[in-house]
Symmetry: C2
Subunit: 309 residues, 2 copies
């Protein structure tokens, strides 16, 4: 299939997700903002605010193209002259501290010299880790992966652990999920050393990426509905604001996608839709021994296989 | 003078500044946190919170040394094996949106191969720019500079404009101030092409850096006292929270000092003392035409010579 078809699918995916999220929220509606990129292409940013479930969320679609900026070529270590990039990117910050923050992204990139790849992933950042929800989340992602390649989940959950890592805090952003980048047709899709060659074709990769995109609503709806009725007080709100501060730290200091966007003069407001409405910082905050906050911190590390918990 | 003498001066400067700031605030007191660096040296972090004037502020002293980490050598493009670094770093977030955020830093760095330099600066980030205060601030800095070298102010205010620039927003962090780095003995201190050679000796540079450090309290006290009684409401608080969001964006995305600290495994809590207690993000916020918020944005650009306003 052609790049136009992929962009078309992503645009419809944005529609479907926004419609589902409005239903899930039950109160707030998305506001839409259409924008054009001076060098070519544009996007459709959608923001939801002040909802019953979602305090602030963004669902962004873009399909941009044109002369590849120098900074882009060097960041991606590419030759070629013209680029095309399309994707859907989502971050939801729920009002309740008992409901996790979620992030999803699916994307496709190609250069005029024929280089092309898919990337994406879903990861969850609970303010309070609930092991049964974490297990449900990862098992669902594993099922999605397994439908396409039984090596994917293991490989991509490790990739998520490594990617969503706040190095200066020595903690993961949340409980991870899956992350993948530069999945290209014909390349081995399995673990290093796997016998799977020459690897999936473009159709198969696109089918996988679609499946990831379509996993987002059901997996998040289930978890949000499990937790949205849970009671909380000032203590939990305070903790949520501090965890949001960590989310900001990850996104602005370590997230390669954010950095790439800002470095290559992407649309700032769309890139920074991922930031929470409010975040707090407190000097040297420590969790009380034996508390739920401390338990959560103990889960923010690499290498936990939630499908086996 | 030896490095120990410089560190000793900086430590006393921290004491003097904290004492003055407690007097200025009138309510809150600093909490102290002594810490050691595993590889050598340590610091004394002081935080003030919930004051009458200062909502959250940090005044950090450190003097660290040891084997230079690889990442440090490559970031600074240095040879040598052992490093020594000492400095005082301050950020104050006032409670009132009518009082500006301020940042000050003085620092000294040397390597075992004899390379050495001073760096530092003061810059002001008003939530609402008041031109007469901006002019007073810059004129005071110019007087400090002029006592040492009449080329300094012009050179260092431009450096501040370039350094404290939020590229992805196309705006300066605030109204600038002075910034300088790698001021080394014997190097020309004036503008490129200036006849001033071989440049100031180490004593002269240290005298300048001391003067910068000692300018901080009087210049900020004057501005804070001018504005702390000004009335404000919800509108101004909302704007303050959004401007604090921009402060976070600058510090986490662009500030080389923060990045250097986090990359070289500096003490995270001391480095991130610069972050505000609370910050907000709102999608595509725009200032009302003709408002004070819009006027403020019009001042957030490079090249304004406030000493001539």
């Amino acid at each position: 299939m052609q790049k136009e078809e992929i962009a078309h699918y992503f645009k419809n995916l944005q529609d479907a997700i926004c419609s589902s999220l409005e239903g899930l929220d039950g109160k707030a509606k998305f506001q839409e903002d259409n924008w054009e990129r001076p060098g070519g292409g544009g996007g459709r940013s959608r923001v939801i605010q002040g909802g019953d479930l979602i305090e602030k969320g963004g669902v962004n679609f873009s399909a941009v193209h044109g002369d590849a900026p120098e900074r882009m070529l060097s960041a991606l270590k590419l030759g070629g002259k013209q680029f095309f990039a399309t994707g859907v990117s989502i971050v939801l910050h729920p009002a309740s501290p008992m409901v996790p923050i979620i992030h999803m992204n699916v994307r496709y990139f190609e250069m005029s010299d024929g280089t092309m790849w898919f990337g994406g992933g879903i990861d969850l950042t609970p303010h309070y880790v609930v092991p049964e929800d974490a297990a449900f989340f990862h098992k669902t992602l594993k099922e999605t992966c397994d439908r396409h390649n039984t090596d994917y989940y293991e490989r991509f959950r490790k990739w998520a652990d490594d990617y969503f890592y706040i190095r200066h805090r020595s903690e993961t952003r949340g409980i991870g999920g899956i992350f993948f980048d530069r999945l290209a047709p014909g390349q081995p899709a399995g673990k290093p050393g796997s016998s799977e060659l020459p690897g999936p074709d473009k159709e198969a990769l696109f089918a996988f990426v679609k499946d990831v995109g379509e996993t987002f609503v059901p997996v998040y709806s289930e978890i949000a509905n499990r937790r949205r009725g849970d009671s909380f007080g000032e203590r939990e709100k305070t903790w949520q604001m501090l965890r949001r501060g960590r989310y900001v730290e990850f996104n602005l200091v370590w997230d390669k996608g954010t950095k790439f966007g800002l470095d290559t003069d992407g649309r700032t407001e769309s890139i920074l839709m991922s930031l929470p409405p409010v975040a707090n910082w407190e000097y040297a905050h420590t969790a009380e021994p034996g508390s739920r906050e401390e338990a959560t911190l103990s889960y923010l590390k690499k290498g936990i296989d939630w499908t086996k918990q």
